[in-house]
């Protein structure tokens, strides 16, 4: 035992482990830093999990345009615990995005971005967008048909940036088209370039947490004054501060461990995202859809008025980043308590509702034609009239059912036509079919009079 102690003392003396890390572990924190403070460290736990599972995946994954899909199939179907590994990496990414979002929301609601923690907020905003970039490039590395088309969608969005859009799109794809260089670049972005920037900013972010201390729990009416704050904080820590470990850190550890256990359970029970078709850009019968954390943006592109969309693709993200970065410069002192900052709470709730509603809309994807819709069955047509029956068949063949629902079948893009005869006259229906509308093609030149009569007869039977 004595020998072991002597060995440890030698290692500790020469390596400086205790000297370097003990002050960090034992640094004083304000009392009352409870469960709302655990989300930053949970993000860090998720990141560590992502690094470890990412390295494990890299041992099995082939980062080449031709081999990636097959290696993913190998990882999923044949490698020992490969499916679970992919699942952990996928749910780990989801966990990291959720945790970073909640952490940011907590910092905003409790105004922890105010003096002297402005740089902590700014680096946090950068880290948020880097995390999303990691999520997106990770989705591209799932090199199936969805990955290929998602990279084209990303290139199209970059293309909207004035002047440099096309070169940026070309840089992303690694050329004029998807090809041999595409996946190598996505791999380099996801595994080297973005993580390197993350480590840089994360190191600085954590260093700032130690330098400025974690923000004390808020108290209504206690105003933050930049002139006196640092001294006040120092005195407060001296008087009532508690060592981070174990008095505050145990919560971080428990919550972080619970998060990781939840991620592993999801990976085992739900499994990784299914691979779609091979990454062949000539296979056009594909329905690309982003992972859940990009679904809100996917919805926004569908719901935005087309006239402003190209501009909003550029201005929207730019404005969001600028507003977030500007926040600590707009307000960096005064009240921090959410009780006295009702608009901050209201704004946060609105953002959550907005993003969540867009997510639900994205899940529904009402704007997408339902190509898998089957022709209407006899029970749905509910008529023995041969013209009605042939009208219903034509309604399907002309693609109307992809967008309109009739008696439980069909798409959601257009109005439900199950009872259309009760609200539109035959003349009104004719005008709409011939001329189309915002979201409907004009069928005037594409169907004969006879076909029009058949469709009208069918629609008139929809009561």
């Amino acid at each position: 035992m004595k020998l072991l102690k002597r060995i440890w003392h030698w290692i500790d003396d020469r390596s400086g482990l205790s000297e370097i890390f003990l002050p960090l572990i034992k640094h004083p924190v304000p009392p009352g830093s409870k469960w709302s403070y655990v989300f930053g460290s949970a993000t860090l736990f998720c990141l560590i999990l992502q690094i470890i599972t990412g390295v494990a995946l890299a041992l099995l994954y082939q980062p080449s345009s031709s081999g990636a899909y097959q290696s993913l199939k190998f990882i999923t179907d044949r490698a020992a615990f490969g499916s679970v590994l992919r699942g952990i990496h996928y749910f780990g990414a989801s966990g990291m995005i959720i945790m970073v979002g909640v952490h940011m929301m907590r910092v905003y609601i409790t105004a922890a971005y105010k003096y002297p923690r402005e740089m902590g907020w700014i680096t946090g905003v950068i880290l948020l967008f880097l995390t999303i970039a990691m999520g997106f490039t990770g989705q591209l590395l799932r090199w199936d048909s969805n990955g290929v088309w998602s990279s084209v969608v990303a290139a199209e969005q970059l293309g909207r940036i004035p002047l440099i859009g096309k070169p940026l799109a070309r840089l992303l794809l690694g050329g004029d088209t998807i090809g041999g260089h595409s996946l190598s670049r996505f791999f380099a972005y996801h595994v080297f370039i973005i993580p390197a920037i993350i480590f840089l900013f994360l190191g600085y972010h954590i260093m700032l947490v130690f330098r400025n201390g974690i923000s004390e729990p808020t108290k209504a009416g206690r105003l933050l004054d930049p002139k006196t704050y640092r001294q006040w904080y120092k005195d407060m820590l001296k008087k009532v501060g508690v060592p981070f470990w174990p008095y505050a850190g145990w919560r971080d550890l428990i919550f972080g461990a619970a998060t990781i256990i939840a991620i592993i359970i999801l990976a085992v029970v739900v499994g990784p995202p299914k691979l779609t078709q091979p990454p062949d850009p000539s296979m056009v019968y594909s329905q690309p859809k982003p992972d859940w954390y990009m679904l809100s943006i996917f919805s926004l592109f569908a719901l935005m008025p087309p006239r402003i969309e190209s501009y909003m693709i550029v201005i929207g993200p730019l404005l969001t980043i600028l507003l977030l970065l500007a926040l600590p410069f707009v307000s960096n002192k005064g009240e921090r308590s959410p009780r006295r900052r009702p608009w901050a709470v209201f704004g946060s709730v609105c953002v959550v509702i907005f993003v969540f509603s867009l997510f639900l809309e994205g899940e529904r994807a009402s704007w997408s034609p339902r190509f898998k819709t089957k022709p209407l069955r006899a029970a749905q047509i509910n008529s023995q009239d041969t013209t009605v029956i042939s009208g219903a068949a034509l309604f399907y063949k002309k693609g109307c059912l992809y967008c309109h629902k009739v008696n439980g079948s069909g798409g959601l893009n257009g109005p439900d036509l199950s009872h259309v005869a009760l609200r539109l006259s035959p003349d009104q229906m004719t005008i709409r079919i011939v001329n189309g509308g915002d979201n409907m093609p004009a069928y005037g030149g594409m169907i004969s009079n006879e076909q029009m009569q058949q469709i009208l007869t069918f629609l008139k039977s929809c009561r």
Binding site: V152, D176, H181, Y285, S310, S368, G399, D438
Partner: protein
């Protein structure tokens, strides 16, 4: 100049020299690094004519999906070197080839033969048979590729993925 001043001048010169040398070595090392990053902008992709089938394969009035290799297929590209277009035989001697990418966000459009429409699965973009926008968010018509008939073979000229710019 006394000894201290001389030392100062020497030190100052050495600081400038070492900083300068470090900067030069960084710049020299950065050239190949940055050129690998910007390689796609430095290289010009060749334009190729790709055969997509014998003339007799296409019926006048029909629109077909044709698959061919892109202009610069690397040996390690695998199936990602493939690309596609929608090809219509307008008359005995003329064809129109449409890009398979929606002009909204590049998703793969499909031809609905009975409806005589191109439809996009992503955000509901719809195009008429001439490629003009029929409904949904696409800001412009489908991009057309050049087609020619060469010794009874129909050939399509390879093109970049059509990127819609903000001015579209």
């Amino acid at each position: 100049m006394n000894e201290t001043q001389e030392n100062q001048t020497r030190r100052s010169f050495l600081v400038k020299l070492s900083t300068g040398l470090a900067a030069i070595s960084a710049v020299i090392a950065a050239v190949p690094v940055l050129s690998s990053f910007f390689a796609p902008l430095l290289e010009k992709t060749p334009v190729q004519w790709r055969p997509v089938g014998d003339l007799s394969k296409f019926t006048v009035g029909d629109t077909m999906l044709v698959q061919f290799e892109n202009a610069d297929p690397e040996t390690w590209a695998g199936v990602t070197a493939h690309t596609a277009a929608w090809l219509r035989r307008d008359t005995e001697k003329s064809f129109t080839a449409f890009s398979a990418n929606c002009t909204h966000l590049g998703c793969p459009i499909r031809w609905e033969k009975d409806a005589q429409l191109f439809m996009c699965p992503c955000h509901g973009g719809v195009y008429y048979k001439d490629g003009s926008v029929a409904a949904g968010p696409p800001p412009k018509s489908l991009v057309k590729y050049k087609v020619r008939i060469n010794k009874n073979q129909v050939e399509i000229q390879t093109s970049p993925v059509p990127i819609t710019t903000i001015s579209a």
